[in-house]
Symmetry: C2
Subunit: 213 residues, 2 copies
């Protein structure tokens, strides 16, 4: 299955579509959010798209007994807020200090066309995430997460972790203790260094890629 590496992160290369959206929308001013602020709630009316100007956004849902699943993170330059119907299925929060721009369609048709591309990229990412959640163990999940972040930050070695361990855990379907344990294990095996709690240096990228599968 060598083929699959060709697709990895295909969804991440969407600069062109971001430009497409921007060209046919009227961006509003940037709104600022502190860490942990609600951008929109589950059940809110949907309709507008958002672009992360700086900072980090998490898309979440909480079940009745309090378990939380984070379905996606969004970083600077990425677009979120697409919904299938008139209500939001997930709620969106800022992870750290975050600036967000609301996008309003100006040229309907072209905007729609760009939206399709954004939708397809979100779909691809969700599908990739399905692979990770369904069939990978803890170490493989964390390796995949770190490599994904590295690719999206366009930094080949030094990765920023704006979110806390608990966010990573709820994204990967693990407990935060397990995430912590795996990170120290990777550190001890020499695959990564942890210069700071919120910063990981990828040392043995081949090992991480091997882990990811």
């Amino acid at each position: 299955m060598l083929i699959q590496t060709k697709f990895r992160n295909a969804s991440l290369d969407h600069a062109a579509d971001v430009n497409g959206i921007l060209a046919f929308s009227q961006p509003s001013a940037v709104s600022l959010y502190n860490a942990g602020a609600t951008i929109y709630g589950q059940g809110d009316p949907s309709g507008q798209l958002y672009m992360v100007e700086f900072g980090t956004v998490r898309l979440c849902r909480v079940s009745s007994d309090g378990r939380r699943q984070i379905s996606a993170f969004y970083f600077a330059g990425e677009i979120f807020g697409l919904e299938a119907d008139e209500q939001r299925h997930f709620y969106a929060e800022s992870v750290d200090n975050t600036g967000i721009r609301v996008l309003r369609p100006s040229d309907g048709d072209k905007f729609n066309e760009s939206m399709l591309k954004v939708a397809l990229q979100s779909l691809t990412r969700a599908q990739e995430h399905l692979m990770v959640l369904g069939r990978q163990n803890g170490a493989e999940k964390v390796a995949a997460f770190l490599l994904d972040l590295a690719a999206r930050q366009a930094s080949d070695r030094l990765v920023d972790l704006p979110m806390q361990r608990c966010d990573i855990a709820d994204y990967l379907g693990l407990s935060f203790e397990t995430v912590s344990r795996i990170l120290t294990k990777l550190k001890c095996s020499g695959a990564i260094r942890i210069p700071h709690v919120k910063q990981i240096e990828l040392i043995d990228i081949e090992e991480l890629e091997y882990l990811r599968g």
Copy 2:
């Protein structure tokens, strides 16, 4: 979090969009596939959409060490084959005897618009599946699966299982033994009956819904 039940299966109610797609495409003749036949392979050029006429389709990927994840099932009336770029990220196979129609766009603009809806529904479904894979245990996963099938088959009590245990397992991120054990457990607890290996009768739907969360 009572809100979330309102969204469940929202993505499944897409008859309108299927009609939208059909109105602006030139459906070809129906192709027939035996159980386990390849409809398209990973890495194949993408472009065409497909509609299931009868039978069942599974969308899969296999990792280098042989673990398989099924990202979605498609049943009669449902559309699949949407991709973010020119190559297929997953491969598609028939689960049982299946009839499939290729859809070719005739009116580009309207076809595109319908595609957006299909994409958003696929996205919603993938996101719902993320919730199940990330934060539910075996019994909850199986309950969610049975209720999803019941909703899509529009049969409130008797659910057909065209796929084998192994397919269910690879869809839910479990081993097929665990799937089997959970089904017998649900049978013993009186939540379901298993009149046939490939047919489940939902007895205590409230219990299943409670399990699903």
